[in-house]
Amino acid sequence: MKSKIDGAGPPPVLPAEPGLDGRAPARTRPKGRRRVGVWLAGAWLALVISVALLADVLPLADPTVNIAPAESAPFGAWPEFLGTDRLGRSVLSRLAHGAQVSLLIGVLATVFGMAAGVAMGMLSAVRPASDFVLGALTDSLLAVPGVVLLLALGATMGAGLTPLVLGLALYAMPSFARLARGTTRTVHGRPHVQAAQVMGAGQFRILVREILPAVLRPVIAYSVVVLASLVVAEASVSYLGLGVPPPTPTWGGMISDGQSSLDQAPYLVLVPAAILFITVLSLGVLGRSSRQGNP
């Protein structure tokens, strides 16, 4: 059945033996409350993402057009269920379309920052020369406060989606680079990487095939946390008036607009702020649970 060299495969797989007394095993599972939290967070994010994706087809008012008297209170009739802002535009519609913009900016910036950071980090881990240059670059980026970085970029490139995404990506890149560099250095000494070297694999192939999968696990878990912080960062920048120019709605822009009438219509600040808060919190919960999943 087998070759002469004793290579008998494993014995046939048989059903697992029941316990000593046939009882089901006591499985260790995470605490129930944390599970509920993860489910709630996932459900909220699913809602936000689907509303953002479907904002154009949902029966919502045009977010840039006045539909009702300014600052009409919430819980009115559809479509001004959440009231209207200073210019009489539907808050609900602006929130939905704002989710689109805010999340798009957050996701794009996270993806760009992650791609650039991982590439830089992995490269600097295996090339001493680039390590020096890239190390100095990431350190100086980390030393500049994020808002200052975005202000500088906004001042040179003007306000708009592209400089905002680029700025936020640049802001997120150093921490990805550090994470990728650390993981790469750990994995680089493993026997399977040395085996690939001995086989004559080139450095690019080794980085992609042997090391990248190990780097991606912590990086992806971390990216959820970064996404949360970038959504907040976008809101901060829009709040300062450096974000996407009006009339395009973003969550941060809405909070910024609303503050001028904070005493007459506090919901104009509170509603988008609450939505932003819950979304960021949900991302944090998911990020933490995914990191626990991949120790």
Binding site: M1, D6, A8, P11, L14, E17, L20, R23, T28
Partner: protein, 383 residues
């Protein structure tokens, strides 16, 4: 203290303890120090329960040495940890009994176990850092262990610690007491662990692969040290190893484990001389030694060890055994005992004619009942 003749009658085997000691103290032998009866240990894992140890039985009189040999996954570490009650956590279940000096350990309270640990039963692990704390000086760790169980003043404890280090052949003991574990080599650390283990003169020492992480020259020293203290203090010892050769020269009794079971046991010399279980025989032949001629082909055991959680109807070794017949696949071999104090789990013990007939039949067919290919050369080559 309890210095007893080391040459008392061997009383190790799968027999229930009643047979060994009907009235507790038969003439010429002492009551067994440790009696393990039908011990099973099960772990709950995400993939379902894993029965890591089953039907384990052994009897160890005071002052004697038992070697436990097996490959990874054979359950040898689970056996000693179960005896030591180190596995009492969520998801671990024991069945059977472990009686130490007449006291049932499986149901003993944690407070009671803490009295027994160190004082009556001590353990030496494969990795000395399991025992040693990295951030405390050696001297503190030894005196702490001493004062836990003995009414000693700090000075007395310090003095005792110094003498303990001398007794485990550590050069410059006074300086070593002030050092941290990381300042020492692996062999030195293992000596310290042995010093701590014997500090309170326990009755039973469990040594789980004490030399596996050490170099061969250091291994010999550490094993010598263990044997020396064991015989000098009349301790009973269980020496666990994957290496038959390590265990063979330093134990009175031997238990061979395979896939969660003790498959053969008896006086060490007798088991090595004429193993009854084909697994023991195959293990003996596949062990590389310096006594065989260079370039000799090693006898191999085909296939891979059976994981202990795998369920089989017959003998757990049948899939790899060259003697296997139909009965080995359908009926689990019961425990058998010989008058010489040996025990085995096999339908075809190698001292009988049935084994030779089965092998001849398998050779004629070219395969065993389990479908394993056997050829004349396989059998001749390693024999």
């Amino acid at each position: 203290m309890k210095r007893l003749s080391r040459r008392s009658t061997p009383a190790l085997g799968h027999r229930p303890p009643e047979q060994t000691a009907p009235d507790g103290r038969p003439s010429g032998t002492s009551a067994p120090l440790l009696v393990v009866d039908d011990l099973a240990t099960e772990f709950a894992t995400p993939g379902g329960p894993v029965l890591a140890l089953r039907n384990a039985g052994l009897v160890l009189p005071q002052g004697r040495t038992l070697g436990v040999v097996g490959e990874s996954g054979s359950g040898k570490s689970v056996l000693v940890r179960s005896i030591m009650r180190l596995l009492r956590s969520r998801g671990v279940r024991h069945e059977g009994s472990v009686r130490f000096d007449g006291e049932e350990l499986l149901t003993a309270s944690n407070a009671r176990m803490r009295k027994i640990w160190g004082d009556r039963i001590a353990m030496v692990f494969q990795d000395p850092m399991t025992t040693l704390h990295p951030n405390h000086r050696i001297g503190f760790q030894i005196t702490e262990a001493l004062r836990e169980h003995l009414p000693l003043s700090p000075d007395e404890a310090q003095d005792r610690a110094l003498r303990l280090l001398e007794s485990v052949a550590i050069p410059e003991p006074a300086r070593r007491l002030r050092q941290y574990p990381h300042e020492m080599s692996g062999g030195m650390r293992q000596r310290i662990v042995i010093a701590i283990a014997i500090a309170c003169a326990p009755d039973l020492l469990l040594a789980d692969e004490p030399t596996t992480a050490l170099d061969v020259t250091v291994q010999a020293q550490v094993l010598d040290l263990l044997s020396l203290h064991q015989s000098r203090r009349g301790m009973a010892m269980i020496l666990v190893s994957h290496d038959l050769a390590v265990v063979s020269s330093r134990t009175d009794e031997l238990a061979v484990m395979y896939s969660g079971q003790i498959v053969e046991s008896g006086p060490t010399a007798a088991v090595l001389d004429a193993p009854l279980m084909p697994y023991t025989a195959a293990l003996l032949r596949s062990t590389p030694t310096v006594d065989k001629a260079p370039g000799t082909r090693l006898h191999t055991i085909p296939g891979e060890p059976l994981p202990p959680e795998r369920r089989v109807t017959g003998c757990r070794f049948a899939s790899r055994c060259r003697y296997a017949v139909e009965r080995c696949l359908t009926t689990e071999p019961p425990l058998a005992a010989t008058p010489g104090g040996r025990g085995y789990r096999c339908h075809l013990p190698l001292d009988g004619t049935a084994a030779q007939e089965a092998l001849a039949a398998n050779l004629a067919r070219g395969r065993t009942a389990a479908g394993l290919a056997v050829t004349e050369t396989d059998v001749v080559r390693g024999a």
